[in-house]
Amino acid sequence: MALAKRIIPCLDVDNGRVVKGVNFVGIRDAGDPVEIAKRYNDEGADEITFLDITATHEGRDTTVHTVEKIASQVFIPLTVGGGIRTVDDIRTMLNAGADKVSINSAAVFNPDFVKAASDRFGAQCIVVAIDAKKVSGDGEEPRWEIFTHGGRKPTGINAVEWAVKMAEYGAGEILLTSMDGDGTKKGYDLGVTRAISDAVPIPVIASGGVGNLQHLVDGVTLGRADAVLAASIFHFREYTVPQAKEFMRAQGIEVRL
């Protein structure tokens, strides 16, 4: 008996539609988030992550309604991220039915926000999202930095040290996205995944770059992730969640079937 490794489909939502782009550009429409979330719930996904990439203010209201609709039909944990900057933002999403919120840029600009959020709502619902990119050259000691603004802006912050700090500040979980891998279908950056997973006492979700089921396995076995997140392979029905789980189980990974 052991804790199962989690498979988490991710919905990137723009103005109420699920989208998925390669490195955040060239967006493809993948459908209605409520329908898709319901399908993942029924298929046996272990959690759902909803990342709001809506830029406009009006669009944010749509997001709250969408989260409410999803939450009333989905009976697995739901994480909502994107644009979470204040304690009020967190309260709004939790009241809409999210179980956890994911804090990204706001943590970088103001790390104390993570502390305040964790004190107020409990570490169990605070996920810190880290967008990391490799900055070391070939043959150098590997080094990853935090990037903001969809991977365009370097911060100079060491990703592994940052993850440790965020755990100390009260994050309950780390959602680690490799910006080099995201949207490429070449697999997770296993180096940074493993470095962070080994460095922090809290669970780590690997994200960014899944193109096939072996990538999910590698994220767990080589990257030592506690959970694996993927978007497009599930949205476009290249694979179903049960197929992913069967594949992982066949390679000796404990999953919920």
């Binding site: 939450a71 944990p77 309950g172 669970p203 506690d226």
Partner: protein, 225 residues
Amino acid sequence: MTDAPIITQTGKPTVAVIDYGMGNLHSVKSALEHVAPEQNVVVTSDPVVVVMADRVIFPGVGAIRDCMAEIKRLGFDQLLREQIATGKPVLGICVGMQALMDHSEENNGVDCISILPGQVKFFGEHHKDTHGNSLKVPHMGWNQVHHNDHPLWANIPQDARFYFVHSFYIHADEPGLVAATCDYGVEFHAALTRNNLFAVQFHPEKSHTAGLQLLKNFLHWDGRV
């Protein structure tokens, strides 16, 4: 999100979800409504509504110190004792279960309600499994629950997985109270029961089919074993 104290929808059994301001009860409410549309689900901090209800759910998330402070401030410790004494079915969930115990190690030690005898302990900073592999804390995700034959486990397979998220675990003093165990480096008590009281460490409202089945069983349970 506390509802207005209107519970006079005739003929419908009512389940009161006790709201003491610690976290969001939306998930619990929508899961209950999903499994029992014929029942009246009320999220409330009004003791009168709780007293009138046919069944009571005592949830909880967050830190035990803050939870206990609110529970005591609102007099819900006494309310719970009285409600349990009436014989109506009562279900504790997660921190709601932990609050029923004698004492928790969280927040440098907090005295709890002492309805069930036992301790709430920390998994530890460097928690390991029996093979020496590191285990992450919080214990977050889907783990197997080994249960007894209590009516609340009806139609739930042995060792079914439920969703947990907690850093502190329960060890009851009386083996007779244990309705289910779970293993995470240490074997802990995932469910306890005594007469009409049932309590679970996991989140049934987030545990998909197995969790919904448990909630459904609770909403049709008469409180007898």
